[in-house]
Symmetry: C2
């Protein structure tokens, strides 16, 4: 399957008739070097700098072995540095295996041949850019940032006060994997810091601060097949428990009575609620940032006395109860004491528990210690699943400092990115060991390679409660789509966003628009945000309640369709929220369509993401489309459609087998 | 004078018993490489990025020749790259001459041995930092920026709206020359982009985006001697015309009548005025930024009818008239047409006049063309000196785009930094050719190596009209001191600052404090700023007028002293405004004293640079000091002294021969 063309000064390598590798003296396939990285972390926000000692173009090459499925090449620069690469076909994929290299190297730049018009997608959860062609993409697990745009005043304030403004590329969930519109995926099998540079016309340059085991490329006939193949390789998310789709997951807090009162109010207004999500099930505290949780993973007798009984009562009414967990243990909680004594926490260079990582005093679970893993799994099984929780927010995972000392002896610089995937694995195994995969679920924020196999659901993290493209409502759309192109097909977001800072509060309109969007995602869940009292909530007024109730009816009405697309994601790896491009590959307009998506095969959703707008521009690819609200039919084209509050622009495919279901939406 | 210690794996080189060079396999003296620079200029503000192709540590070495004053060394990395360096003593200086090297190299990193506690000064005009130890200092001529602090809201706005916020290191006048508190100076003889990295404990690393001719080091017994030697090498500024010290240079504009009316008002209030400075002598226009000048270097008949006559009248009264010039020619001016026709303007890659460099349509003088130089010198001689101007602001010099095409064929990337020094040379030669060195002067904004030889006076450019440390009143102090440590000893600033943007306007207090500072600098000059009508002026109220008049009396009273220190600068290169450290080298506290200076040998000035303050913290080194206002005596120590408006903290040395002059200040 490999075709090799060699002259004295260059060679090219094709796999399945696509040229992936080109090497010449002037355009060397590989550079190598040595450098030292400097990571400066502030509450999960990283400033990363490098001192590059040496960088060498390996201009010379020698073919050592050659067979139809195998090419062994030594690249070198004089006698100074060499890398022996085995280009080989394994399981129908091209693997670029780093077989041998000069001792001491810790930087590598590899070039994959590119075309100028290629679209590039994936790299994990990307909030600001969907098509990454033309960008240099750093890949490092971190806070996503507040504002995420250096020209934005929110970002500026967050930077000045908390070093937390972020940038267009900062993300909880990067992954060194991309999908090309030329129908291939490419993955670097490593976890050190990387930058994927898609700015050059003729090549993609993958810079890795480590010599990786291998780079894997899979070429398929279509982008749909690329996604099937990618998810077969990395693992897919399973189907979700039946209860998931039966209404809103209502984020409430404040203790049993407050929560039940709000639930009663919601139900009185016809809101369909399938679960109460109480992030403060374990208690809370107030910090500078707002209301924060008490990180000790056991229910709070004070706030939720006899929680197991309350849960049973709720369950009888058909309502599930969800909780919260993260990777930390508050120093004033009893679990911290136990973990500390047992050596289950990440250590600093002095051998002490590594504190000061977050704004609250807390230790961080050392997931390289099998003792820690067993212990925390038991806590999940006993304190959470055991008392009747049907799921939880599985928060954080981005904060492992690079100078931490780990039980396994592995470098924290290497384990930093792996941490969130391990955290998802721990939670997944706890659910599996409890035998509850069909009943219990959880949703994660951080991720990396491996997360798609272990986590059930992603949520888009902490959006600012505004209309900012890079960190507000709009940003959750490319986030879901890019995750889908990385093999994670189940995403949703906090309705109304989370972060309220610098006087920015959630407005009624924002809440309503976000609720409309959420009704057309796999999961519909609210969050009161970090400043609940100042931000608009689902029950802040009658109109909002009724609007929200209507949205919950639309969502539950879609259950058969949602179940089917979640099943498709589980079986084929085709994401629930997906880039329209994957079904209309001939239509290059779709390569850059960032704020519009297909929910499954048949529903085109074009959320209103700007304040004060009552119409929305929509692009429809070549198909027969029907407006769910008006029944109007459309062919290919760009349209400005009516979009008053309550009527998010949604179109179904006329030939859909769910046509009748979709037709009913307007009557709900 | 060279001492060399060699083993198989390393060598060290001392010059005058100071180890400057150390080389070993692990700590190589030199790295070399190849890279491409990318310069993105927006109205003189640069975003500079690099694509580094290769970087090599030249770990191996071979001594080729050795004599007491000479060491020829070949550094290499295998057969890949080499540099032959001749370490040689010429005129009592150590020169590091790049004699030969591998073709194609265009990056070099050279390490000069360092001590951790060393103080590092100079690198041209540095507005935010005086002691550069611990900093990485980019050296590129540019706008200095508005705000110059990425945590500052003014900077943020300037960045967002004009890409012009700048940073702590952005400066009109960098110079690849530094002075060490270990009594040596070091200079890189090149003009390409550089970074001097003073962050490492054991070496200073000089990164140059070109292979330079040579690096020069001069070792002396004291920092004072370093300055003498440095200025002997680079050239000193001459003494100034006698009229300079006879009062304020009053910046006025608006046409003859307005100017004369304001002058009358000033004189009525006892203000000593030695010169009117009318930047709009050639006419003006209004832009988005504020009031701007008409860049056509000929007096405006409309605004200043019969200007030569007016000047004569003023001169009779003992008042000089000063004008303005810069490197541009407005496209709608007649001089542009002439210059364009004659090919005197910088061209773009298409061979057209390079326009669009500034916010106004203008061409830029190609100073590599001898024709241009002769032509513009004639304009200066005829249109400026010829009509009676006694001086001018010699503005700009930072805007040469790196992709410009120059008459000489020299790369604009190399000429960019040289441009301001050439611009100063042109002006200097015009004055000299007119035979007016004793009568006519000018003051420049931009600079580079060579400026100290050609320009008469620097001014600190366009400060923001506020109290910001990085771009307000305070910043002109380290600016003057660092210039002094680079060999330019005559600096002053716009009283009250210049840039009013984003609603920031000059206040009365700011104007008064700045006037107090200016009375203790070599030149006392006002500028109405870019938004004169909104900013506080010298005549905005009676109190300001009287305060300002008093300051003008103090300034003129100091004339004998000022003349003496300007003479000292001309003869010895000891700057007028100087770091106290150079006279008290044993006192390491003085290494980081940023906002306090000696005016000459005998006056310690500690300006109030914070809003609303009426006392000021002062540090006095070991000497006998007398407070000019109270007569109180002080020894070494830190003091919080009274500093009401009108009484800037100033101390004279009790043993000064100007004691009587200083004692009289309090009675003025």
């Amino acid at each position: 399957m490999l075709q090799i063309k060699v002259t004295e000064n260059d060679f090219s390598l094709s796999f399945k008739n696509y040229v992936f590798i080109y090497h010449s003296t002037k355009q060397p396939f590989i550079h190598v070097g040595k450098g030292q990285a400097k990571y400066d972390m502030h509450f999960g926000n990283f400033k990363i700098e490098e001192c590059l000692d040496e960088k060498l173009a390996l201009t010379e090459f020698e073919l050592l072995e050659q067979s139809p499925n195998n090419l062994l090449v030594k690249f070198n620069k004089s006698d100074l540095a060499f890398v022996v690469i085995n280009f080989t076909v394994i399981n129908d994929r091209l693997e670029i295996i780093f077989q041998d290299y000069t001792e001491g190297l810790n930087r590598v730049w590899v070039r994959i041949k590119a075309e100028e018009e290629e679209g590039i997608f994936g790299c994990g959860e990307q909030f600001s850019e969907l098509n990454l062609r033309g960008k240099n993409v750093p890949l490092w697990v971190s806070e996503q940032g507040v504002g995420r745009n250096k020209k934005d005043y929110v970002t500026f304030q967050a930077d000045v006060h908390y070093k937390s403004g972020g940038d267009w590329y900062t993300t909880y969930y990067p992954q060194p994997t991309f999908v090309s519109s030329n129908s291939y995926w490419c993955h670097v099998d490593d976890s050190y810091y990387m930058e994927f540079d898609f700015r050059n016309k003729s090549y993609h340059e993958l810079c890795i601060w480590h010599i990786p085991e291998r780079i894997i490329i899979s070429k398929q006939e279509s982008v749909l097949d690329v996604l099937r193949n990618l998810t077969e390789f990395f693992g897919r998310q399973p189907e979700l428990p039946e209860w998931v789709y039966d209404g809103v997951w209502l984020g409430l807090q404040g203790g049993t009575q407050i929560v039940l009162d709000k639930l009663a109010k919601a139900e009185k207004h016809g809101l369909k609620v399938t679960a109460l999500w109480c992030q403060d099930w374990e208690g809370k505290r107030i910090t500078d940032f707002g209301k924060r949780l008490f990180w000790n993973w056991k229910y709070s007798q004070e706030m939720y006395p006899n929680l197991p009984e309350t849960i049973k009562e709720l369950n009888k009414k058909g309502i599930k109860y969800l909780g919260y967990i993260n990777t930390f243990l508050a120093t004033d909680g009893e679990l911290f004491k136990e973990a500390s004594e047992k050596g289950y926490l990440v250590k600093n260079e002095k051998g002490e528990d590594y504190l000061g990582i977050t704004e609250m005093d807390a230790g961080v679970l050392d997931l390289t210690n099998p003792g820690t893993v067993g212990w925390i799994k038991n806590i999940i099984k006993e304190n959470m699943i055991g008392i009747g929780l049907s799921g939880w927010m599985c928060d954080f995972g981005e904060y492992l400092p690079t100078d931490a000392v780990l039980y396994s002896g592995e470098s924290a610089e290497a384990f930093h990115n792996k941490y969130p995937a391990e955290w998802a694995r721990v939670n997944r195994e706890a659910v599996e060991e409890a035998g509850k995969v069909n009943e219990v679920t959880f949703f994660t924020r951080a991720g990396y390679t491996g997360t798609s196999r272990y986590s059930f659901i992603m949520w888009a993290g902490d959006q600012t409660v505004n209309w900012g493209l890079d960190d507000g409502l709009a940003s959750v759309i490319p986030a879901a789509l890019s995750l889908g192109m990385t093999g994670f097909g189940l995403s949703h977001s906090d309705i109304g966003g989370y972060t309220s800072l610098f006087g920015i509060v959630r407005t009624k309109e924002l809440f309503m628009r976000w609720a409309e969007l959420a009704a057309f995602t796999p999961i519909m869940r609210t969050h009161e945000g970090n400043r609940p009292d100042e931000c608009w909530q689902f029950d802040s007024d009658e109109e909002t309640l009724l609007h929200f109730a209507k949205m919950s009816h639309i969502y539950t009405h879609l259950k058969p369709y949602l179940k089917a697309i979640v099943k498709e994601n589980a079986e084929e790896g085709i994401p629930c929220m997906r880039m329209p491009y994957i079904h209309y590959e001939k239509d290059k307009n779709l390569l850059n369509l960032k704020y519009q998506y297909l929910l499954g095969r048949d529903l085109m959703v074009a959320p209103v993401f700007e304040e004060g707008k009552t119409t929305q521009k929509v692009y429809l690819p070549d198909d027969q489309w029907v407006n769910v609200w008006t029944g109007e039919e459309y062919g290919q084209g760009t349209y400005e459609v009516d979009a008053p509050l309550g009527k998010i622009p949604v179109f179904y495919r006329k030939e859909s087998k769910y046509k009748v279901l979709f037709e009913q939406i307007k009557n709900l």
